[in-house]
């Protein structure tokens, strides 16, 4: 017994020493990082907000990690403005910004904040917001800046049974919420249905103030659905489409197409008029993001670097043979403000 106690004591000492050493070095690394200014060239927000721009989440491992940044659309790899606003996901139009953020705690809390940008360079004003029941996943602001959509991911958090579902809301900024989209009338393949396992995520808005597109998943299939806020309905129009994003001219949907085993997503584009799909296999990484349009022929999305918490925003032309390139280093969640 005494030998066992000695062995146990030795294990305790080794484990404690090892874990403590790791934790201390992680703390030191963290402190070094959070006191380091970003390596990127910076400029003022006023400068950037004078013209078309791209907002994003800054992912450089420095003091501004997770903060919203902005670059000029004309010089995406040029100087960036960095704000103090922390967001997991960000989207923006000319005068409105949606920010989904995690407030860390013993149990984390999640919040959607709607911000208004009135004068270039002036601090963003909080105009509306709501608590979220789960982990931020996607957000979009309508082209007129009046509607905001958020998808969060509710995990059952239960003691014995775990579950999973998404919760997608559309709200009028400063107005009423349209509620959980799972309560909208759902028409799949022309038939009105009410499946139990429906999940809805990844909204993109058209510019008429009522039409939107979303992913509807049910029965192991994912559909592209066209939604109508006035009729409170969702109607599927294509199969095998996830996280749609409507092009600025409103003619095409960019999305991620799941591979065979459902774990590798390839960016693709669907022509709404003809139904023609173009899979952009020039991107070989799995793209798990809601794509943003840089212009009518170029897609933007975030991709994590190998073994790092740093990600970059990549640009990919919508022609079949195109190969992707890094557009904004150390960034994710791009939002183009034209």
């Amino acid at each position: 017994m005494t030998r066992r106690t000695a062995v146990f004591g030795a294990i305790v000492v080794l484990v404690t020493a090892g874990v403590t050493a790791y934790a201390l070095s992680a703390i030191a690394e963290n402190d070094r990082r959070t006191s380091t200014a970003t390596a990127a060239t910076t400029t003022s927000l006023a400068q950037i907000e004078k013209g078309p721009r791209i907002l994003f989440r800054h992912t450089g491992r420095d003091a501004d990690y997770g903060h919203v940044g902005a670059v000029a659309l004309a010089a995406p790899d040029g100087a960036r403005a960095l704000t103090d606003r922390s967001c997991d996901r960000v989207h923006a139009q000319e005068e409105s910004i949606s920010c989904l953020a995690t407030e860390r705690g013993v149990v984390s809390r999640y919040r959607a904040t709607d911000l208004a940008t009135s004068t270039p360079g002036k601090p963003w004003r909080e105009v509306d917001g709501t608590d979220l029941p789960g982990l931020p996943s996607r957000t979009r602001i309508s082209p007129d800046g009046k509607l905001v959509a958020s998808t969060v991911f509710v995990n059952g958090d239960s003691y014995m049974v775990s579950g999973f579902s998404t919760r997608t809301l559309i709200r009028r900024i400063g107005g009423a919420s349209y509620g959980d989209l799972e309560r909208f009338t759902l028409v799949v393949d022309g038939r009105r249905v009410a499946p139990v396992d429906r999940n809805i995520w990844g909204i993109t808005f058209a510019d008429d103030g009522r039409t939107f597109y979303a992913t509807v998943a049910t029965g192991g299939r994912t559909f592209l659905a066209r939604g109508d806020l006035t009729e409170r309905s969702l109607t599927t129009i294509a199969d095998h489409v996830e996280c749609p994003s409507l092009s600025p001219d409103g003619t095409r949907i960019a999305f991620k197409e799941a591979g065979e085993d459902g774990t590798l997503w390839t960016p693709a584009v669907l022509d709404l008029a003809t139904g023609r799909r173009t899979v952009l296999a020039g991107e070989t990484h799995s793209v798990d993001d809601q794509i943003e349009w840089l212009d009518d022929d170029t897609l933007l999305y975030g991709l994590a670097r190998e073994d790092e918490s740093v990600s970059d925003v990549w640009a990919l032309d919508t022609s079949t043979a195109a190969t992707p390139r890094v557009l904004i280093p150390e960034a994710s969640s791009p939002a183009v403000v034209r």
Partner: protein, 430 residues
Amino acid sequence: MYLSLSDRPATGAEPRQRDGRVSRTVVTLGIVSLLTDISSESVSAILPLYLTAVVGLSPVAYGLIDGLYQGVSSLVRIAAGWAADRTDRPQPVALAGYAMSAVARLGLIFAGGFGTISAAISLDRVGKGVRTAPRDAMIAASSDPAHLGRSFGVHRALDTIGATLGPLLAFVILWRIADGYDTVLVVSLGFAVLGVATMACFVPFRTGARAPLVEPGERQRASVETNTFRWRAALTPGLLRLTGVSAVLALLTIGDGFVYLALLETGGFAAQWFPVLYVGTNLAYLALAVPMGRLADRVGRVRVLVLGHLPLAAAYLCAATGSGMLWTTCAAVLLLGVFYAATDGTLAAVAGQLVPETVRASGIATAQTAVALARLVAATGFGLLWYAVGPRVALLAVCAVLVAAIPAGLAVMRRALVVEPVETPAGSRS
């Protein structure tokens, strides 16, 4: 037939605690569970964030991983129970289960993609499935039968302390180190290793073993002789009734997730508090596990096990009727904790009593697996009902059926106990 077997004196095994104190082995197993739960729950707390924010998996991919959690564990549980009985050595089987989960933590540190992460998580769940029944068999073997309920209560209370400390630890680390996910994983591995070490060093190899250690040749013969009817021996009429009753009640156990979601739906609290609800349930479970175990020892374990579903029915009622009132939310959360305190450990205690000692782990595993599978069915079925008639009506319907099922369950179990007297070693029948 099994009676002749169980009448064998339990020589060689750790002596049962007889003086009314909780056995050292039970406390040690509780500490092992505490350490292991700190390890697993600290990771569970950060896993959704880690997978989506750092590894970059979408909610859907995470859902797939989460699904893996559920099925894997039940399948291996019976096999592990059988292995523990067959070898008559629950300790090494349980130890292997704890070790698997520790290896899974190591795997998670180095995992980078969907495939490796799901492999690591599956291994963790297999480990959990492997260790549960042999461990519960050891608790039963090391306890005074008169205080079995309390023993399981002590074990589950320690286990739940770990489950509560884990997320707290993860929070402290992430508060100090903004993207300290790796640190959480390393610390978690440390606790898993300490759990395995505690088990290996302080829970004797032969804990829960029935037969004395004999010469290899002789042992071989003994195994051959007794193995042929092992599996059927576990399926005593009493255990079959228990399994049936528990499974039916489990079919009406829709899971905390749905109760919380129904509360969210009826507006009982702000959405921001959604993630905190399970902490309340955990705390109630933690506080009541031992008192409920004592109560079970005094008034009858079967009674507490079956009647323990009344607080569950009350929780459904609170969630269904309490529109927007804070106290109904609190009540529902706490009632769920009462339900777990009354039923989780008690199920293992009763199952262990209703089968001969030779097949105790198999018997416990059978009842636990039936409950786990029935709860999976319940969750799916309730999902259907929820969408068909809405949360309120669905909850009230399940609540009504559950209230009706409880006296029926009691009646069936009462007959079971008459048919099948509680199995205790000679001399301690009470």
